[in-house]
Every structure is written in structure tokens, then in C-alpha cells.
């Protein structure tokens, strides 16, 4: 499965990437599994996703949880807890 990944705020700064297309191995089926998989993609990803418990995710622009399945997703975003307003 190929999906577009987006990173925001300090997650983007740590990975060094704003967005990218990736092809996921079939065993990656949930948001939490995707975060664990991303962690192994290099030092920047490792430092970003070392804080996985606080990182939030969205699938196709709607908030998702670690257990949310990613099947069929076109766009998955990772970001810190929001601080607008």
C-alpha cells in the first residue's frame, strides 16, 4: 500500500521531512504500527517517534487513534498535540 505521509511542527523538524510518499509493508495495519515502523527509518524518525505516546495522527484529515486501521488511507499525518486558539 502506498500512502502520503505528512509531518507537522516538531515532528516535521525531527524527521526533516514535510511530506513523502511511502510504500508500506503489509504487516503495518494500524496508526500505532505505522509509528513503530517509521521509527526504524533513520535517526530523525527515531528521535521524533521516540515520543510516539504524545504524537497525534490524522487519517484523510480526520483525527485517528493508535488502534485506528489504516487500510484505504490516502493521507496520514503525524503531529504534536494541537496548540491553536
Amino acid at each position: 500500500m502506498t500512502v502520503k505521509l505528512l509531518y507537522f511542527a516538531w515532528v516535521r523538524e525531527a524527521t526533516g521531512v514535510g511530506e513523502e510518499e511511502v510504500t508500506l509493508p503489509p504487516e503495518v495495519t494500524t496508526v500505532g504500527e505505522l509509528m513503530a515502523w517509521l521509527k526504524s527509518r533513520g535517526a530523525g524518525y527515531e528521535s521524533a517517534f521516540a515520543r510516539a505516546p504524545v504524537i497525534r495522527a490524522a487519517i484523510d484529515r480526520a483525527h485517528a487513534r493508535p488502534e485506528t486501521p489504516i487500510a484505504g488511507a490516502r493521507e496520514i499525518a503525524f503531529f504534536p498535540p494541537v496548540t491553536g486558539g
Partner: protein
């Protein structure tokens, strides 16, 4: 109505445009969030607001829809800015209009509590000494949102 923009807004003009000369509205509440010149005892020189284009608009629209499902609003408006902002500048505007003030006040507070915890914005502050840091989310904001969870209409 929701808007996400880099430009400033004029509160008076926005309210006037929203109400459009209607005479059936009895109560209008406006809330404006602004950039403070200090945080945690330090002077703040400026702030950069990053957001997730596309999801931001979708989340704000969802929050507004939820408010309109809970209270009989006659009009509502949310404007949120992004980009580089200095102390004293406007960040966010919420306007709610209803026949009576109770609904307008409650809906405005609800909109702020929900957008603060769900709209994908992130603030990065630069202090007077030039140090930049991401603003941490506050537990008090989650608590403010949680107040509304138990009283769905």
C-alpha cells in the same frame, strides 16, 4: 462560517457582515484571542502559527456544525490566522449570534474549547532572547473541552 487566513481581521466589520442588518438577533458574543507578550515569565518577541491546510478547515467546520446542533444559533463565525504574529496581534475570532445571550455565550465558549483541542494548529514562540520553542498543549484545555462531553443535547 469559517475562515483560515494569514491576514488580520477587523472585528467590527466581521460582525456587521455576519449580522447583515438582521433584526431578529438579540444577542451577539465575540471572543478574540490575541498574542501575549509574555509566557512563563519570559518576554515573547513573536509567534509562528503552523497549520494543516485542508484538515484545519474541515475541523473548524465540524466544530461549528457541532455548536449549531447544540444551540439555536442564528449566525456564527470562526476566523483563525496562521503565519508570523507579533504580541498584540489577533489570532482567532469567534462570533455567535442567538435570540438570547445564554445560548450565544455558551456556544462561543464551546467553540473555543473545541477548536483549541481539535483544530490542527501549532504555535512556535520566539523569546526576547531569540530562543524558539514549540508551545506545549495544556491539560487545562483538555479539561475545558471535557466539561462539554457529558452534556450532549
Amino acid at each position: 462560517m469559517i475562515r483560515v487566513q494569514a491576514e488580520d481581521f477587523d472585528i467590527g466589520k466581521e460582525v456587521e457582515a455576519l449580522l447583515g442588518g438582521r433584526t431578529d438577533i438579540g444577542a451577539v458574543v465575540t471572543f478574540t484571542g490575541r498574542v501575549r507578550d509574555h509566557a512563563g515569565g519570559e518576554r515573547i518577541a513573536e509567534m509562528v502559527l503552523e497549520h494543516y491546510p485542508g484538515m484545519t478547515e474541515a475541523e473548524l467546520a465540524r466544530v461549528e456544525e457541532e455548536a449549531r446542533a447544540r444551540w439555536p444559533l442564528q449566525a456564527s463565525l470562526v476566523i483563525h490566522r496562521f503565519g508570523r504574529l507579533r504580541p498584540g496581534e489577533n489570532i482567532v475570532l469567534v462570533v455567535t449570534a442567538a435570540e438570547h445571550r445564554g445560548d450565544a455565550f455558551a456556544a462561543a465558549e464551546f467553540l473555543m474549547d473545541y477548536l483549541k483541542t481539535s483544530a490542527p494548529f501549532w504555535k512556535k514562540e520566539t523569546t526576547g532572547e531569540g530562543a524558539a520553542r514549540w508551545v506545549e498543549a495544556r491539560e487545562s484545555d483538555d479539561a475545558a473541552r471535557a466539561r462539554w462531553e457529558g452534556e450532549r443535547k
